[in-house]
């Protein structure tokens, strides 16, 4: 079919054509970027923590009446309380493993240290999240050791909350190891934090930092485990239960800890939380943003589709007589159908071309304003195809109605 008559007809509806094309262009620009945002958030939520999250829960509690740190015997006192608690928890039926820790991936409470390769290096090689825990921490979390050895009870020290002494040995994540010592084994090497040195004795495959608001790159996995029980005002225990017993153990743990020593605070709501809940909370903002963007996209696509249906229907109504004439002169139904489909393809094609420019422009602007990464071309391509398909789907109903116009119409007065 020649496109000439279509173009000629379009020229008579300049305003309507421009409006539909403009609408498609804007929709493409916004939908591409919104879907890109959704994609980023989904990626982030799906990042692995490196730990075996099932059947894991965390107890955060605060001591009452223990001397605030600063008193000489405070650390020893709290340490004996912590060890007693670990023992109490270990004896609960259904418990598989218990460890003391200062934080966990996604916990949003972190201690970050600058790590250097020499004691007098000025700018640190990387910033690592430090996890402080006892020898049971790695096995409780199920992190995978890929080189060197795990901690034994003999490695574990204890120190106060504000005591930054570095233990003689640490275990680092593979991401950190590769950044610190590219192309060589990190085990046995010495690293420094604020001029104090320590030896890497092991490397774990994957362990995510505790901060959630980071942007998916390797630095989210720069983590270091210190064999240290941190004895401060707040003590934190991570518990692995046997399958199916988590809820029962969570309930029993509170009672058991209070009957062992009532001088403590375990917050009703946030004191004992399953890891599933921690994960859910950690990604609430990302999920919310993704849902919001998805809703806006859906509405926008519906409005655009409905707009195409509305305007094309109007044109079909307007051209009833001409369609009738064409039919009377021998055009088949399918010719009429194709006419409107091609017409829409041409309008949508124009809109999509403008839309691509707008989409890239919007992405660049968002990059400059809101630290958004560059949008991969695939999102634009998907957006183009989606809008062309949307246009065709939307035009089908009015186009079919047009194809059913009877040749008799030609004989009727306008």
């Amino acid at each position: 079919m020649s496109t000439h008559p279509i173009l000629a007809a379009l020229r008579r509806h300049k305003a309507g054509v421009i409006l539909i094309a403009l609408q498609i262009a804007l929709t493409l620009a916004i939908v591409c970027n919104a879907i890109f945002i959704i994609g980023q958030r989904v990626d982030r939520v799906n990042r692995p923590t490196g730990i075996d999250e099932a059947n894991l829960f965390v107890i955060s509690q605060q001591w009452v009446g223990t001397p605030e740190d600063g008193a000489p015997d405070a650390v020893e006192k709290i340490d004996s309380l912590v060890r007693a608690d670990l023992d109490t928890l270990r004896r609960l039926p259904g418990v598989e493993s218990v460890a003391a820790t200062n934080s966990l991936p996604l916990f949003n409470s972190s201690m970050i240290n600058g790590i250097t390769l020499t004691p007098d290096q000025k700018n640190s090689t990387l910033s690592a999240t430090m996890f402080l825990g006892d020898e049971k921490l790695m096995s409780t979390l199920g992190v995978q050791l890929v080189a060197g050895r795990a901690f034994t009870a003999a490695d574990v020290q204890h120190q106060g909350f504000r005591d930054d002494a570095l233990p003689p040995s640490v275990i680092v994540s593979q991401a950190a190891a590769e950044k610190l010592f590219p192309n060589q084994s990190a085990v046995g090497k010495t690293i420094y934090s604020d001029t104090k040195g320590t030896t890497i004795i092991g490397v774990v495959k994957l362990l995510e930092s505790s901060m959630v608001e980071t942007f998916g790159n390797n630095s989210d996995y720069y983590t270091i485990i210190e064999p240290v029980r941190q004895d401060g005002n707040i003590s934190r225990y991570v518990v692995k239960t046997r399958p199916g017993q988590q809820a029962a153990v969570m309930a029993a743990a509170r009672t058991a800890l209070f009957s062992a020593n009532p001088e403590r605070v375990i917050d009703e709501d946030r004191g004992i939380r399953s890891f599933a809940e921690i994960r859910h909370e950690a990604y609430r903002a990302d999920r919310g943003m993704a849902i919001l963007m998805a809703v806006v996209c859906l509405i926008m696509l519906c409005v655009t589709a409905a707009g195409i249906v509305g305007l094309t229907s109007f044109w079909v109504g307007q051209r009833h007589r001409q369609i009738g004439v064409r039919r009377a002169l021998g055009a088949r139904k399918v010719d009429i159908l194709h006419y409107f489909q091609i017409e829409n393809l041409m309008i949508a094609g124009g809109g999509v071309v403008v839309g691509v420019v707008l989409a890239v422009g919007l992405n660049l602007w968002l990059m400059s304003q809101y630290e958004m990464p560059r949008m991969p071309v695939i999102y634009v391509l998907i957006g183009m195809v989606a809008l062309l398909a949307l246009g065709q789907a939307a035009v089908f109903v009015p186009a079919r109605r047009a194809s059913r116009v009877s040749p008799i119409e030609a004989t009727r007065a306008a």
Partner: protein
């Protein structure tokens, strides 16, 4: 005349119910998406103390030097203990207070009840008058109480409700961290958002309000640890809370009231003088690099409004624009379909202005209907974001009269704007040509 146009418009809208419904829904969706995201934006970008925010200043001192500055050359956003106490001692502003976050435990009287953890801030006496903190009973403490490290406490209305059934509890005592504190004041409702006096720890927003305020000097004396963020450029030389106080780690917020330009200028000079004095004392080895921002500027500098909120609002406005373009197209189609009717009216003597009035009335009605639909969607939308957004932000977004009014106004204005071009085209219809073709 208006009632006549109203009748014409309604009759015309009824003639093509599908098209009308489409326009009304498009405007309704566009406006409600914008209003929903705007309700969140409005909540997080508000001024927490509008009558005074331009007189409240946050001083920043560069105690870390060039190595500790970010790429933007900014000094830390909080103070270390040494500088905070020095600023308090010099007392150069009309009112000022250092503060830090505490989370002590508190005994709950009655057998079999476990102690609870409470949150609060250690502040100076001038904190309360400076921030116009409302009291239900009693008041803040005196300057003497600061000096004497007095065991006094101001509690929130919420804690007062919990512990004393909302009765006047001034003079009673609470066992906080194992020591008795005498209640000197009970706050009225006070929940400023953004939490401008503690942006560093809250990031701006907090679902929990402070339960207690205690004298800063007292909290330090009893080793009440900082429960907020601590940032260190280098590890403290000594362990413990005492070591923290002698380190350059920053964990203390500071606010000062400066009432006029002279006072502000004088305070700037004082800060620079202070930094220079530290330099000549050998503590700093760099030129002064201080900041003194008022509350709105500080909130902006700390990026209190999440970029997600801004991006959502922009995307929703984009949706509104798409909906408007859509409406322009549909109105154009609708109006031009009636070219013959317009031709007849013009031939019978109706001026162009009459055509404008008639068709803009019709657009306005579409907008109003879209606005009414938008009200419902906005209410649902705000409810929806409350369920999916982070709690600290979602809790702030709410529907109120001004939001609903704005929804209607935006809907009508949008529809009128969308109707302008189609109306212009309608008014240009040539009567002669229309009459002839019929």
């Amino acid at each position: 005349m208006f009632s006549y146009y109203l009748e014409l418009a309604l009759r015309s809208l009824k003639r093509s119910p599908g098209l009308t419904l489409l326009m009304v829904l498009a405007i309704g969706f566009g406006v409600s998406a914008s209003m929903t995201t705007y309700s969140v934006f409005r909540a997080v970008s508000g001024d927490p103390i509008p009558w005074k925010s331009s007189q409240l200043f946050v001083p920043q001192i560069d105690m870390w030097g060039p190595a500790g500055r970010g790429a933007d050359g900014e000094p830390p956003n909080a103070l270390d203990y040494i500088d905070a106490v020095a600023l308090m001692r010099d007392h150069r502003a009309k009112l000022q207070s250092a503060s830090y976050r505490v989370a002590p435990t508190m005994e709950v009287p009655g057998s079999g009840r476990h102690p609870i953890s409470i949150s609060g801030h250690a502040v100076y006496s001038e904190f309360f008058p400076m921030l116009d903190v409302p009291f239900a009973y009693g008041s803040g403490w005196s300057v003497d109480a600061d000096t004497n490290q007095a065991a006094v406490v101001v509690i929130s209305g919420k804690l007062n409700q919990k512990m004393f059934d909302g009765q006047n509890s001034v003079g009673k005592t609470l066992d906080i961290g194992g020591k008795d504190y005498q209640i000197v004041g009970v706050l009225g409702k006070w929940d400023p958002q953004p939490r401008f006096y503690d942006v560093v720890d809250t990031g701006g927003f907090d679902t929990d309000t402070d339960d207690v305020f205690l004298p800063f000097t007292r909290a330090i004396a009893v080793n009440m640890n900082n429960a907020g963020n601590t940032s260190c450029n280098s590890n403290p030389a000594e362990a413990g809370f005492a070591g923290m106080q002698r380190s350059s780690c920053v964990w203390i917020e500071f606010m000062a009231e400066l009432d006029d330009a002279t006072a502000i200028q004088k305070y700037r000079e004082y800060l620079d003088g202070y930094a220079l004095a530290q330099k000549s004392a050998g503590r700093f080895t760099w030129a002064p690099n201080n900041r003194l921002r008022d509350v709105p500027a500080f909130l902006d500098n700390q990026h209190v409004v999440p970029s997600d909120t801004k991006v959502s609002l922009l995307v929703a406005l984009g949706l509104l624009i798409v909906c408007l373009v859509n409406t322009v197209g549909l109105l154009l189609a609708k109006f031009l379909r009636r070219s013959s009717e317009i031709g007849v009216r013009r031939a019978l003597g109706a001026p162009q202005a009459a055509i404008y009035a008639q068709f803009l009335t019709e657009a306005g009605i579409v907008g109003l209907a879209g606005g009414v639909v938008g009200l419902v969607f906005t209410a649902l939308g705000v409810l929806g974001v409350g369920m999916v957004l982070p709690k600290d932000i979602a809790a702030l977004a709410h529907v109120n009269f001004s939001l609903l009014l704005l929804t209607l106004v935006v809907a009508v204005i949008s529809a009128l704007l969308a109707g302008l071009y189609p109306t212009f085209r309608a008014s240009r219809v040539q009567p002669a040509w229309q009459l002839k073709s019929n």
